[in-house]
């Protein structure tokens, strides 16, 4: 099965605004869910500079962009994406 990719932007803006704390995602994620996702750090994705995307830090769960990302928001999106994939 193809894993869901969680991309955490670690450009300087995102990192300062909280991505450093989002890197703990693997520690807080349910082990059963952890098996189904791949967490990757990324260089600046460019959203912080473009208008209309919202605030840093940015995280992508597959193609779904999360602005002002928190661990809670990311976890919720992971569950949503995985639930959709399971249908």
């Amino acid at each position: 099965m193809k894993k869901t990719t969680v991309t955490i932007c670690t450009g300087t803006t995102c990192y300062i605004m909280g991505a450093s704390h989002l890197q703990r995602l693997d520690e807080v994620l349910d082990p059963a869910l952890l098996e189904q996702v791949e967490i990757v750090g990324s260089r600046c994705l460019g959203y912080c500079d473009a208008n209309g995307h919202g605030k840093a830090p940015f995280v992508k769960v597959d193609d779904q962009l999360i602005a002002d990302a928190t661990l809670d928001k990311v976890l919720a999106q992971i569950r949503k994406t995985l639930a959709k994939g399971a249908l």
Partner: protein
Amino acid sequence: MFYDNNANRLRKEILMRVARAHFTKEPADMLDRIPMAMRPKRSEPSRCCIHKDRAVLKYRCMAALGFSVEDETDELKPISAYYAEAARRTKAVAPALTVIDEACSACVTSRYSATNACRGCIARSCESACPKDAIEFRDGQARLNPDKCVNCGLCMKACPYHAIIRIPIPCEEACPVGAITKDEATGRETIDHDKCTYCGKCLRECPFAAISDLSQMIDVLQALKGGKAVALVAPSAARQLPGSLPQLVTALKQLGFTHVVEVAEGADETARHESEEWAEKMGAGERFMTTSCCPAYIETVEKHLPGMKPFVSHTPTPMGFSAAKVRRADPESVTVFIGPCIAKRVEAAKNPEVDYVLTFEELGAMLVGARIDVLECTDSPADSFAHREGRGFAASGGVTRAIQATAPAKAALKPLLVDGIDRKMLSQMRVWANKSCSGNFVEVMSCTGGCIAGPGTVGNPNTARKQLDSSLEKSPSMVAAPLIEASCGTD
């Protein structure tokens, strides 16, 4: 958790916006528009209306430019005028924590409150527990009369439904020395600077981000133009910014620093001298010695623990050693300490060899403003040579390990660790100073976890600790391996 929340993010966003404006051609216009940009028309206000939000944001910008909100004399003075004034400053402002009184939500004074969970039971244990007759029953539920309540908490303990709660004032709870109190007239918090130790705990705990320290970011950005600035990077830099330390060195040089020095090199010196000092003092029959590298602890001793003063080490701090070395090499250099600490600003104000102090938050904002992405930077070596012992100062227990490694072997070290100064620890230390202490070497860290968990950090303390531990394994030790084989050969 206080490390990453919206209040904390808000503070960083302000710094970033100010730094971004600095690097544009017309900073004034961009600066004056910050409150509007952050709270545009018809956006969701976090207070009563966007106009109050904007007023608070303006005050936040003042602090980010190094001005105390309390010093405002003209409400019409725009952010750009404060910026222009900051750019003309030639010396760091005196360190102070400032309360943005418009942002302070004036938490309720009454500490105990009966909630709707009250069942109005027959037992009414709360009523009988209260020694001041402060419990009244209205509409079948208990109410606390604030005029009679003395905040003893007995009613809360007595209620079988847990219907009585204690509402803390977060900044006052966090302050270990009672320096922040409510002004009875306004209901807002005020800081008593004669008591404040600049530990930063109130700043971090206030859910309204109403407490701020005075940033030196603009001062450093101006100083960088002179081409004489040297960055002194604290040992706790691991995971405070993306990328590795060698990448950070490149980023700092791109920002305009001529040299980048690891303060861990100074910490090596502190360890060497402190272990010698300790051995001498023990030899002279002294009871114990405490570390001196944590500036919030030093302020605590000065203001609240006079009895501890004779036991504090006289060895200069890592920042002190590193700054002195930089100044010896070039007396004209502008020394900028970059760390996790706001109390370091107080230490720097007392040490003429340190010009400015930045937090990792401020440095991050500056890099964003200058559009330097650390991850895109190549590796450069630091202009210093640090060892495992000095680098270890960043986390609680590290100074002790360094002293253990460098102390003369025959002396028996009995270490104690103060991992975070709170009220309980304060009384414990008072006992050590005035009565007896079971150890003979006391490492004191104001922040629980040590510098990597300081109020000016960006990284997560847990991941920072892991990164630090793995970097320590790779770092060379300043203690030469004992020559066991050689001594065996002489037999």
